[in-house]
């Protein structure tokens, strides 16, 4: 029994090593795990407005009304998320360069905190909704964390998913060509 106790650390290490090895496998690039929802129309949701007096974000808008016939980007963020701060200036850049509305959803974040976050850094979003309990992110988009960005085509079908912060390089080499293509 005592001997068994002394082997515990070894087993713990073995378990961790397996996780790491899986994590390193070339099939799992942490930046490019495809969500099963890519290629599907976005499931219905309604996110209440984050900014008072403006409208929130709802699936209805995406598929039919305001955005029908437009390619849109949806960005999940949170005030407690450090990479979101790093990515923040790039959102505006993406909106301008690609000529598309970027919608924001504050994920698992208190309303006040996300408002302060936008007050502090500026609001690059066309419309911002609040996903306070995180349900929209998980059920409608299957996100893996924040920041995460989705590109939806004219029909409201999810076409790309970018987990982790955007970068200049990523926008130039991958997103812009894809968006241009979808906008045709």
């Amino acid at each position: 029994m005592r001997r068994l106790l002394f082997t515990l650390p070894l087993f713990a290490l073995a378990a961790l090593a397996v996780v790491f090895a899986l994590g390193l496998s070339p099939n799992r690039d942490p930046h490019a795990i495809d969500s099963p929802l890519v290629g599907k129309p976005v499931a219905g949701f309604v996110a209440p407005a984050l900014v008072n007096g403006e409208s929130g974000v709802a699936a209805g808008d995406l598929r039919t009304d305001a955005y029908r016939g437009q390619v849109v980007a949806i960005n999940f963020f949170a005030s407690w998320c450090l990479p979101c701060r790093a990515e923040h200036p790039l959102l505006k850049k993406l909106a301008i360069k690609a000529g598309l509305p970027v919608l924001g959803l504050a994920w698992k974040d208190k309303k006040k905190a996300s408002q302060d976050f936008l007050d502090e850094l500026g609001n690059p979003y066309f419309q911002v909704g609040s996903d306070e309990n995180g349900r929209i992110g998980i059920t409608s988009f299957g996100i893996t964390g924040v920041p995460e960005t989705f590109i939806l085509d004219k029909e409201g079908i999810i076409r790309a998913r970018i987990p982790g912060p955007l970068s200049d390089d990523l926008i130039e080499t991958q997103l812009l060509p894809l968006i241009k293509d979808l906008q045709k």
Partner: protein, 660 residues
Amino acid sequence: MITELGHYALVLALVLALAQSVIPLVGAQRNLRPWMALAQPAAVGQFFLLGLSFLALVHAYVVSDFSVAAVYENSHSAQPLIYKVAAAWGNHEGSLLLWVLILGFFGALVAAFGNNLPLRLKSRVLAVQAMISTGFLVFMLLTSNPFARLGQAPLEGRQLNPMLQDPGLAFHPPMLYLGYVGLSMSFSFAIAALLEGSVDAAWARWVRPWTLLSWTTLTCGIVLGSRWAYYELGWGGWWYWDPVENASFMPWLIATALLHSAIVVEKRDSLKAWTILLAILGFAFSMLGTFLVRSGVITSVHAFAQDPARGIFILALLAIAIGGSLSLFAWRAPILKPGGFFAPISREGSLVLNNLLLAVLAATVLFGTLAPLILNVMNLGTISVGPPYFQTVFVPIAMPLVLIAAIGPFLGWKRGDLPGALQRLAAAGIAAAIAIGFAWYMADGASFMALAGMALAAWLFIGTLIEWAGRVKLGGSLGASWSRAIRLPRSAYGMTLAHAGLAVAIVGMTGSIAWKQEKVAVLHVGQSIEVGDTSYRLDDIRKVTVDNYLADRATIVASQNGQLLALLTPERRQYLVPSPPTTESAIHSNFARDVYVVVGEPDGQGGWTVRIYVEPLVLWIWLGGGLMALGGVVSLTDRRYRVGAPSKMLARKSEVAARA
């Protein structure tokens, strides 16, 4: 040419390390003195070669030899000299060389000054060290050669990341590496002890200075890193629970535990297997940190060179080193005789509780850091772990730790008198109550956590002072107290300083989290905003040119009730090499609060985004951290490490035994 010599020296160092990791070990097993004695010159030679190699690398940076790939990637001819030198270790390849150099340095220290170590133990320790250094040298030479040349030498380099061009950062990595590598020394001693099959008070005394050294430098490294993140990133805040920050924090927690458990081994000959396990885990966490930072398995803002091929190599290294040592532990540790029984309420008992809590804290941080990865690879969906998790899980476990840190020193060995200890701590209890009242009054009401934090800080600080006062019998004759005070061992002062430092740091952490204020506004020149009772006026904003960057430098006048408080000059910098603009915050700091001002983007109509943070008591965090590190330094100068009379006697005894 010099670069090639550096590369060659590295290869030679590997050859020496290989010899040093095998021959002395066999010698120790078979009792062959000349084989064991080989470890000493090999360790010194290895250090010499690594030193040469490192100097060659620094030389390439200083003369800006852009035909060397790493120099091209990380340096620029217009960079100030200090950042050219710092760039040598501000990247993946160079930092590995620094790592191995420090390893070699510590090995050489053991070889040169470890005369009171039994030959057999010493040769085993050096052999284990050499194995670690072999692993890292192979890693470097195969996957991350710092001396790799470029086919075509570019005219100009890409420069060190502007964020890293900062004096604090020049010393942050070397400090952390000193800490990580110091833990590898404790690790080598643990493995050697397992091979010997015995752990005694003398062993604990040899391990303790290394643990202390690495704890002290880790503390410095973390404090510097947090300070750097605070003033350089321009986000306010001093800790983000980022995976890379956690990677340095976990070894620190384990080193803290090891520091305390080694006392029990030294004084009471107990907790041996646990201490050995902690020594192994301390190094395991350093390796884990290396893996997390350099493999790209977890996304973090501290992007280092991320390359899965390197990740696999480090993972293999980690599995061999830590898997091997934990197997050895499972096989040999059960034969270590447990000794010295004690009651639950005793000095030992409090140290055990301290160890348990620290281990749980480390596990909490580990879980929070790895949970997204674990769930992700197991296809169990995905989560994201941020500060809310750590604040709700970590802080409540850390609180009892602070509570017992004040009580523990009052308990006797074997069996302690808890009511007696609490009686002596009555003043600390009163201080805690006063702290609650004071915080409540000053802040006009506060959350439970904020009040608890302040109360605990007061409790620990006053408790620590009472303990010191008791030792020197303050209150009796002043002369007698004075002579007691100077004769008190340095390690006792170390504890007093470190515990008091922790209390000071807690004041800062609590204050800056609980009462932070932020305000953002677009200001035109001449306009001002109010934060609390202070007003900030944007007086001027102009373009300036410095060595290797251009900047918009704002002048902001802070005034309180019409009186000038401070002139602040935050900047927005554009470095000459294409890169996004960086912000340089301006901070006005005093004991009560920091005012932290950042200028952001212009709005195009003559207005500038100005962000103002008021961070109460934040300076105390780094003061406290500094005090803790000072405690480590003072403790390191303790007489028993320099003289070590009892250990020498034991050493001779075991050497006689080895010869027999």
